[in-house]
Symmetry: C2
Subunit: 343 residues, 2 copies
DNA sequence: TTAGTTTCCGGAAACGTTTCCTATTACGAG
DNA sequence: CTCGTAATAGGAAACGTTTCCGGAAACTAA
C-alpha cells in the first residue's frame, strides 16, 4: 500500500500542457476537443496513473453511480440469486451495488428507506418482509428513486416507486398441482406471516372443506418447522396424502424427517413447496416447487430503477407482475409413476 | 420521489443564525462549541431535514466509509455467510460494503485490485480463486489497504496485505477421521483445481498406498461431479468403503446418487466432505464435513482491514491462520453405531 | 478594574472535479 | 485577402463540506 501522493487533474493538465477543462473533456469524451490533444492528454493520464476522484465527481455531478440493495438476509435461500442478478444488471450500466441486510425487521427496513441518503446511492432496491403502515408514506418521500421487489401483499397503487411483484398465484398453483395428481387429504405446513399469508389463503380457497387437523403452523418458515410438521402429521391416525409447504425450507425439513420416520415421499405423501430455491434439487427426492422468479424479478427491478435514475423522471410508475411457474420434481410424481410428468 | 431542493449546511447555518463552521462542529461533535448553540443547530438541522452531502465530506476528508468485498460468486455455498459476516463487522464501524462478483476468474480478480480506486472504497477484501503470477505484485501496489481471505496456497510473506487463511489441514482432518473410524478403502472425488490442490495432496499423503482406481476427477466441484463419482464407484467390482469429497457440493451429489443406486451411507460407504456449508445439514443422512471457518475468517479479515484503514498504517502486516474443525454427522458414523460420536 | 486565559465562533481556503463563458485559432466562402 | 463561423481551448466559478486561523467574548485571578 504505497502512499503515493494523489495525482490530480491539474498534474495531468500541466504534464500535457493544457488546461484542466481540456483534461476533463478528454476523460469524459464530452466533445469539443481535437483528437490530437485528446491523445496527448490520454497519454499524460496514462503516464501519471491518474484516476479521477470519484468524490469530486460525485460532488459536482450529483450522482454516485451506486445503488443499494436491501434484502432481509443474504443467507436466506434465494437472496444470493437476487443479489447476483442485481449486481450483474447494475454493472452493465456502470453502477456499483451496496448490500444491506435488514433482517426482515420492519423498523430497519423503514430506517433504510428514511436514511437512504446516508448510503451515498442514487437509488434503492428493497425487498421488504414487513409492510408497516408507514411503508408507502416513507417510500413516497424518499429523495431517491426506489424499486420495490414485492413478494407480499398488494401495495396501494399510489406508491411512488416502481414495483415488481408476483401474481400471488403461487399457492394456487401448488394446490392445483397436488389436487391434479389425485391427492384428497392435503395438509398445510407453514408459519404465521403477514407478508405471504396468501400462500395459506390459497390453501383454504382451493379446498371445499378445510380439515383443521391437517394444518400445522410453526414459528417460522424453517427446516425445523418442517421437521416438526412431519412429526405432527405422522402422529395423526389418518395421515394426509400430500403436504403443501409454505416454502421450500419447510418442505425440505418435512421430507428429511419423513424419511427418518419411514414415511415414503411421494408414495405415502406427496410434497410441494414454494420458492424453487436451489436446495430443492439437492434433496432426495427432489422437491416439486413453484418458482417465484427471483432472477427475472430482481433483474427487472434493477433495470427500472436505473432507467428512472437516468431519466430523472417522476412520471408514471411501473408496476410489473410476473407469473410464478410450477416446477414438478420427484416429490409429487405420484399417480402416474411410469409416465414422464414434466412438460 | 419529491425533488425538493437540496438543503445545505449553509441553509442550516442561516436558520440557526450561526456560521457554517459551527454547523460542521455540531454535526461532527468535534468540540469547540457550546451546548447551547449546538442544541440550536441540531434543531435547525432537524427542522430542515438536513443531511450532509457524503460526496462533499468524502472529497474533503478523503475517505468514503466504504469497503469492497470481492468474492468469486455470491451464489456459491458459503459466500453468503461471508458476505453477511463482513457486512455486520463493517456496519459496526460505520462502513458500507460494495459487493463484487469476480466469477473466480483470475483476470477479473486482478482487475478488481488494479481498479480498486474506481470502486470508491477505502479498502478491499478479496477472496481469490486464482493466484496469477502478478497477484502479489498487484496487491502490493494497491493504493488502498487490502485484506486477503486465502483458502488457497500459501502466499509469499512479502505481500503487503493482511492475510487470513486456514492451516490447510482440512484435508488431513477429513482423511484422519475416515481412517479413525476404520475405513480401509478410501476414495477421492473432486476436480482439478490449483487453488485447493492441498485437499487432494492430503488424500495422497494420508495413505501408505494410493489405489488410482479409487480416485475420481470430475470437471468441477459440483453436485454433478459428485453424482458421476457415485456412478463410477458403484461400477467398481471392489467398492470403496469411504469417500473423501473435495468439497460439500461433491459430497451431496455423491450421497444423493448413492441413495438412488441403493448404496447405503454410511453403512456401505462413509462420506466426508469439506467446507461445512449449510447444505450438509439438509441432506439425509447429514454429511460430515470440515468447517473452513468462513464466518470467523471473514470477520477477522474485515476487522484487520478496518484497523489498517483507521490507523493508516503501512507497518507490519498480519498473517492469521485459523484451524479447520471436523464436524462429524451421520454420513460417517459407521463403526460405533450405538455410541454418540460427536465430542 | 484589568490583564491574561480560555472558550467559542465565523471567514475563508481547500478538497478535485465539471461546465459555463469567453477567447483564440482554423477554416471555408466570397 | 478578408470576413464570418465553427471548432477548440482555458479561466474561473461552483458543488458542499472541513478546518485553519484569527478575533470576540467570557471568564479567572489579582
Amino acid at each position: 500500500m504505497p502512499n503515493r501522493a494523489k495525482v490530480t487533474i491539474e498534474d495531468v493538465a500541466e504534464k500535457a500542457g493544457v488546461g484542466i477543462a481540456t483534461v476533463s473533456r478528454a476523460i469524459n469524451n464530452s466533445g469539443g476537443i481535437s483528437e490530437k490533444t485528446k491523445a496527448k492528454v490520454l497519454q499524460a493520464i496514462d503516464e501519471l496513473g491518474f484516476i479521477p476522484s470519484i468524490a469530486a465527481q460525485s460532488l459536482k455531478i450529483r450522482n454516485t453511480n451506486q445503488i443499494a440493495l436491501a434484502v432481509p438476509d443474504i443467507r436466506n435461500a434465494f437472496m444470493p440469486e437476487i443479489a447476483w442478478s442485481v449486481e450483474q444488471a447494475a454493472k452493465q450500466h456502470g453502477y456499483r451495488v451496496v448490500n444491506i441486510n435488514t433482517s426482515g425487521i420492519g423498523r430497519i427496513e423503514l430506517e433504510t428507506i428514511r436514511d437512504v441518503k446516508k448510503l451515498h446511492v442514487d437509488g434503492l432496491i428493497i425487498l421488504p418482509l414487513a409492510y408497516p403502515k408507514t411503508f408507502v408514506e416513507m417510500v413516497n418521500k424518499s429523495p431517491v428513486p426506489i424499486s420495490v421487489i414485492n413478494y407480499g401483499k398488494k401495495l396501494t397503487p399510489d406508491i411512488r416507486a416502481d414495483v415488481v411483484c408476483l401474481s400471488q398465484q403461487e399457492g394456487r398453483l401448488a394446490m392445483e398441482h397436488l389436487l391434479s395428481i389425485g391427492c384428497t387429504r392435503i395438509a398445510y405446513a407453514g408459519a404465521p406471516c403477514d407478508i405471504i399469508e396468501e400462500r395459506y389463503n390459497a390453501y383454504v380457497n382451493s379446498l371445499s372443506h378445510v380439515d383443521v387437523s391437517l394444518v400445522y403452523f410453526g414459528e417460522d418458515f424453517s427446516l425445523n418447522t418442517g421437521a416438526k410438521a412431519a412429526d405432527y402429521f405422522k402422529s395423526l391416525k389418518n395421515m394426509p396424502d400430500a403436504v403443501y409447504a409454505g416454502n421450500d425450507m419447510v418442505a425440505i425439513g418435512l421430507i428429511n424427517r419423513f424419511k427418518e420416520l419411514g414415511v415414503r415421499v411421494p408414495e405415502d405423501v406427496a410434497v410441494c413447496g414454494i420458492d424453487n430455491n436451489i436446495y430443492t434439487t439437492i434433496t432426495s427426492p427432489q422437491i416439486s416447487s413453484v418458482s417465484i422468479m427471483g432472477v427475472e424479478v430482481s433483474r427487472l427491478a434493477t433495470e427500472l430503477l436505473l432507467k428512472r435514475i437516468r431519466e430523472n423522471e417522476n412520471g408514471v410508475y411501473e408496476k410489473v407482475q410476473f407469473e410464478p411457474r410450477l416446477i414438478v420434481r420427484e416429490s409429487s410424481v405420484k399417480m402416474r409413476r411410469t409416465t414422464t410428468y414434466l412438460d
